[in-house]
């Protein structure tokens, strides 16, 4: 079986600094891959390279077997197949929700308004925001905006969705509504690449965990083995930091000075 997405010997530099170092990663259709790792490990850059927002420097990147690092790649075409959702949603502030959703389908894909609008409304209903159809982004909460941003990507009918720390800018009570939407997509069998710091979510939604540090993939495994017995010391250390807060003992004695 050919992988839907394949990074092979993939390198990326910011100036002298190498942010991705010989990355090999295969993702099959329908797979949910969660990428974990400390800040600055290159996980967001990896997603951005797949969407052409960053330029790769060497190696191979294939989508359905087609080499994307070839000079003739039509990134506009690729981006329609690879949806991306950002940490800060980035809805278009001067447009109503429905116009945000229809811009790509109508202007990029030149689809019929009636058909595109029916799809957009169905997806809005699915994320519970059909009543916000004509609202403007500034009238919506962060969680609502992020769900709209997900729908905006879905309206392009992509083959893959990339989620780049999509709950990192949200209040805790809004995280749930966004994660539920993503989990719904996973349940439907959509191919997802997710960068997150929500460990419990990663464990629940992932088919496979990829752990990265300093631009390299240190280990890949199914979520149960990764979270219960990581193979590398670095991953263990990383997980310990997250469980530290959960297992923090109650403050018993206060020093009175």
């Amino acid at each position: 079986m050919t992988a839907l997405i394949e990074f092979q010997g993939f390198n990326k530099y910011f100036g002298e600094h190498q942010v991705l170092d010989n990355v090999d990663l295969k993702v099959s259709a329908g797979e949910v891959v969660v990428i974990l790792g400390p800040s600055g490990c290159g996980k967001s850059t990896l997603l951005r390279c797949l969407n052409g927002l960053e330029q790769a420097h060497s190696g191979h990147l294939r989508l359905e077997g087609e080499e994307l690092l070839a000079p003739g790649t039509d990134w506009r075409q690729v981006r329609q197949r690879v949806g991306m959702v950002f940490q800060s949603y980035h809805l278009f502030g001067h447009m109503s929700v429905i116009d945000n959703l229809l811009l790509g389908p109508l202007k990029v894909q030149k689809r019929e308004r009636a058909e595109a609008q029916a799809q957009a409304e169905a997806l809005l209903a699915r994320v519970g925001l059909l009543d916000k159809r004509d609202a403007f982004p500034r009238q919506l909460s962060g969680g609502q905006q992020q769900r709209i941003a997900i729908v905006r990507s879905l309206c392009m009918n992509p083959q893959v969705m990339l989620f780049d720390e999509v709950t990192a800018a949200l209040d805790p009570e809004m995280v749930k509504e966004v994660l539920q939407v993503i989990q719904g997509l996973a349940r439907d069998g959509m191919t997802l690449l997710i960068v997150t710091h929500e460990m419990a979510f990663a464990r629940a939604v992932a088919d496979r965990i990829v752990f990265m540090e300093t631009g390299r993939i240190l280990e890949q495994s199914d979520p149960e083995s990764f979270f219960s017995q990581p193979r590398t010391a670095r991953a263990q250390q990383f997980l310990d930091k997250f469980s530290f807060v959960e297992s923090l003992p109650k403050t018993l004695h206060k020093e009175v000075s």
Binding site: H90, Q109, A149, M156
Partner: protein, 219 residues
Amino acid sequence: MASSAPELLLVSLPQLAKGAAQTLAISALGIVFATLGGVLYGVLATLGNRFLNIVLQVYLELFRAIPVLVWLYLVFFGLPIFFALSIPSFWCAVLVLGLWGASEVGEVVRGALQSLPRGQREAGLSIGLSGGQLYGYVLLPQALKRMTPPTINIYTRIIKTSSLAVLIGVVEVIKAGQQIIERTYESVLIYGALFLFFFIVCYPLSAASRVLERRWANS
């Protein structure tokens, strides 16, 4: 010879009106070119192309460092000498005002575009928009609110500066006024009329700019 002030004004009105029409025509055309050129400048300046940025920087500095009057002379007297290209004085004035205005408006447009969050560009690209679509549907409409008030102020400066065209022989409103004064010696009256003319044209613009700035300040 006219005897009373109202009578004089009435008699000289056609001549003043003709001059005013020239002033308004030069200004309006200058504003149109300044706006189109300014938007083009702003877009080009935000593409991130090194070579383009150098070219635009040179263009900007030339118009910042050299007075508009000198540009008028350069174009009106210089082009025939160096390029054997002679342009009527009216169009010289339009050209120079347009190019000067474009450099000013262009900096405003560039600033407005750059003040938009970077994510707007990335979100637009990520749904497959082309460069033209990105600017047309996403970036320029959002920059419009930030760039309109300062751009209107530049328009009033273009209108006022258009009076320099008198020095290359355009009979615009000030020249028309001076011709009447030479004939009648009624300088106070005529300059008063000129004052009123510029005020009536420019004040609504600067008032509009202020209102828009206030209305859009917090959106």
